[in-house]
């Protein structure tokens, strides 16, 4: 999914070479430079309201290099890179009606040694008000960012640009800018900082959303500060071959495997009343709506099955997911979806409601409706492309959706060259869903290597 976005970003960068456009871009960049605050985008409005003492919407992206990381050089690279991303070098503030981002010139953020329990809550007033953290551990560089700053694509741009700068400082030559690696000497483009939702939320109707409570995994909560991670590392070609056998893409196949794992878990629990099993899956809208924004530009879809209708074979689940994706992932329905989302924010009566009331209502809606609408989260960043000069230095990438809002499991997928990594993050003791998931992959002939931070 994200591979297309990457190539699109690359194409746009190349297109911008024309003289006329250069002038236009210079104007835009100057304008971007002058801004001293940023409105939160449509998705970002929600994340701060969900902030609790033990929860923040933090995701984590990491890159595994082939050599040990030098923290002093990494800090230098970070200091050079972050000013290129003004919405990441920012602090979140409260207004009377909305929150907003403002440039943060305090010292930091500082690179720190990685910890066993990543994606910890990120308090807005802590860490010198920065909403990003950078960790290192042996040959791994990890970036944690609050979702109110941007989505995985934006975060990946920061991480890749940081990694490229780091490698250049170490003397690696031939690392070109392009794709996720942006030019740190260039001023940010206005379009990178825009709320792209508002540009494309222009359908003539707001389609209603069908919402039904989904099955929720029952598990024993881990103590605060614990995030259980299980990484599955496998070969892209093996997964692709397995997916092809079922006539599906990798995303559809892995979605189906997760649905199968959740369905099995629900069956094992012998509940009197079964519920539909659904997955919340973010779709990168850059694939459908041209934008180079580094902020949030995703929408959620909910592929699922309803075991109350009868028993599903695995093949039927794959077919169901395949058909669902074909039907829902298209420009028209996605435009309708973001228009529905934007309608609330555009409503003048809602706009003038004080922030604390909005917070209360949004939190209530999310807890009572949105969070119960899915059984697990799954995101696929797709095949990551890096500049040729960087390929030799990188082993693999990892991505974690972060701590789930409720007791459940989140799954994130990313691939680089022939290495596909599936990262599960959960805050419950039981690893049943993960077990069913990986056993299914093994059954389909995929060699899986497991790494975990569990004791």
């Amino acid at each position: 999914m994200l591979g297309n976005a990457v190539s699109y970003v690359g194409e746009l960068n190349m297109e911008n070479t024309g003289n006329k456009q250069n002038k236009e871009n210079k104007y835009k960049r100057r304008k971007a430079q002058r801004r001293d605050w940023y409105q939160l985008d449509l998705s970002a409005i929600v994340y701060p309201t969900l902030q609790r003492r033990d929860f923040s919407s933090v995701y984590r992206l990491s890159v595994l290099l082939k050599e040990e990381v030098r923290p002093d050089v990494l800090q230098q690279a970070l200091d050079m890179t972050l000013p290129r991303f003004p919405t990441y070098k920012a602090a979140i503030r409260k207004g009377l009606f909305w929150r907003y981002l403002e440039p943060n010139d305090r010292p930091g953020p500082f690179v720190q040694e990685d910890v066993k329990n990543p994606c910890q809550p990120m308090y807005f007033k802590a860490n010198n008000r920065y909403l990003v953290r950078v960790y290192y551990f042996r040959n791994r560089i990890a970036l944690e960012a609050h979702h109110s700053l941007g989505d995985g694509t934006g975060g990946m741009c920061v991480l890749m640009t940081l990694t490229a700068t780091y490698l250049r400082l170490l003397g690696h030559e031939g690392i070109e800018n392009g794709g996720f690696v942006l030019d740190i000497n260039e001023a940010p483009d206005e379009e990178e900082l825009e709320d792209a939702y508002m540009r494309y939320a222009n359908a003539r109707v707001c389609p209603p959303r069908l919402e039904e409570k989904a099955y929720r995994v029952r598990g024993t909560a881990e103590p605060f500060y614990t995030l259980n991670i299980i990484d599955g590392i496998m070969s892209v070609s093996e997964v692709m071959a397995a997916a092809k056998r079922y006539g599906a893409t990798i995303t559809e196949y892995l979605n189906a495997v997760l649905l199968y794992a959740l369905m099995t878990k629900q069956e094992e629990e012998h509940r009197a009343r079964q519920r539909p099993v659904k997955i919340a899956m973010p779709v990168n809208l850059r694939r459908f709506f041209p934008s180079i924004t580094l902020r949030n530009f995703i929408t959620m879809i909910f592929p699922g099955i309803d075991p109350r209708l009868g028993d599903y074979t695995f093949e039927e689940i794959v077919q169901q997911v395949h058909n669902y994706m074909r039907y829902y992932i298209n420009e028209k329905l996605l435009r309708g979806d973001i228009t529905t989302n934007a309608a609330t924010q555009r409503n003048p009566f809602i706009r003038v409601v004080p922030l604390f009331i909005k917070d209360f209502v949004v939190r209530l809606f999310y807890t009572k409706v949105q969070d119960r609408n899915s059984s697990a989260g799954l995101t696929n960043m797709g095949a990551l492309k890096v500049p040729e000069g960087m390929k030799a230095c990188i082993d693999r990438f990892d991505i974690y959706m972060g701590q789930p809002f409720s007791r459940r499991t989140n799954c994130a997928i990313i691939s680089f060259e022939d290495v596909l990594t599936i990262n599960f993050a959960s805050s419950i003791i039981e690893a049943d869903v993960e077990r069913y998931f990986f056993r299914r992959l093994v059954k389909d002939g995929i060699h899986v290597k497991i790494e975990s931070n569990r004791d």
């Binding site: 040694e113 910890v115 066993k116 807005f124 802590a126 551990f137 500060y225 077990r435």
Partner: protein, 238 residues
């Protein structure tokens, strides 16, 4: 290289058990390494870290200095400029109340809520006592101020204990709230009557108490009957 015998997945060299099914790793070819843990580099760090909390101490210090400066300035003004009455005592008292209320919020956030409430009660009593120097009479303090503050503090403490220690739901919190409100009104009227008339003749508080008692009985019935409780939850869910 070890594999889980149950799951069929390859495990990391440092793994002592399969993270998916907890089956212990037993590799006959690498027994020595497994026992000694040599060459086993875990893929994740072993150290946990704590969340960095926002530093409110600086703000707490600032607020303390502002409160202290206000109290001191008013005291000096009262002593040197506006000397007619002891008006500064009420300002100094108010500053003390504000500071004590701010302690758990800004200065010592780990302070128990029960201790905080007790301190709040004590500082309000002290403030009322300070006011007696301005009014010139202490009768109202011992007859009304002290007992009412003690009653409010006691009921708030009991309410907090119930909310924090007993099972908490929308229905139970409502039960504690109505019980507390009824008892508070009853106590207030008894104290006021005793102070003003020297005898207790209940009137308005009896009405409040009756309403609270009816609501409490309804809530207790709902809590004790699961079917009824579920029905109420279903109809009132939000």
């Amino acid at each position: 290289m070890s594999y889980c015998v149950n799951c069929g997945v390859e495990l990391d060299a440092s793994a002592q058990k399969c993270p998916l099914c907890n089956t212990p790793v037993w590799n006959p070819g690498e027994l020595e390494k497994q026992v000694s843990g040599k060459d086993a580099m875990p893929p994740f760090p072993r150290e946990k870290s704590q969340v960095e909390t926002a530093n409110r101490k600086d703000f707490g210090l600032l607020m303390s200095m502002v409160v202290l400066a206000t109290a001191a300035t008013c005291g000096i003004l009262n002593a040197l400029v506006f000397r007619g009455t002891l008006w500064s005592l009420s300002v100094i008292g108010a500053c003390a109340v504000l500071w004590v209320i701010l302690i758990p919020v800004m200065i010592y956030t780990k302070q128990s809520i029960y201790v905080s409430l007790l301190y709040d009660g004590i500082v309000v009593v002290l403030y009322l006592y300070i006011l007696t120097f301005q009014v010139g009479s202490r009768e109202w303090f011992f007859g009304l101020g002290l007992p009412i503050t003690a009653l409010v503090t006691f009921i708030t403490e009991v309410f907090t204990v119930c909310v924090c220690r007993l099972p908490r739901s929308f229905l139970t919190v409502s039960l504690y709230l109505f019980t507390g409100a009824g008892l508070l009104c009853l106590g207030l009227e008894m104290l006021i009557d005793w102070y003003l008339m020297g005898e207790i003749a209940l009137s308005w508080s009896a009405v409040v108490l009756t309403v609270c008692a009816i609501l409490d009985i309804a809530l207790i019935t709902m809590l004790s009957r699961r079917r009824l409780r579920n029905e109420v939850r279903r109809r009132l869910h939000f």
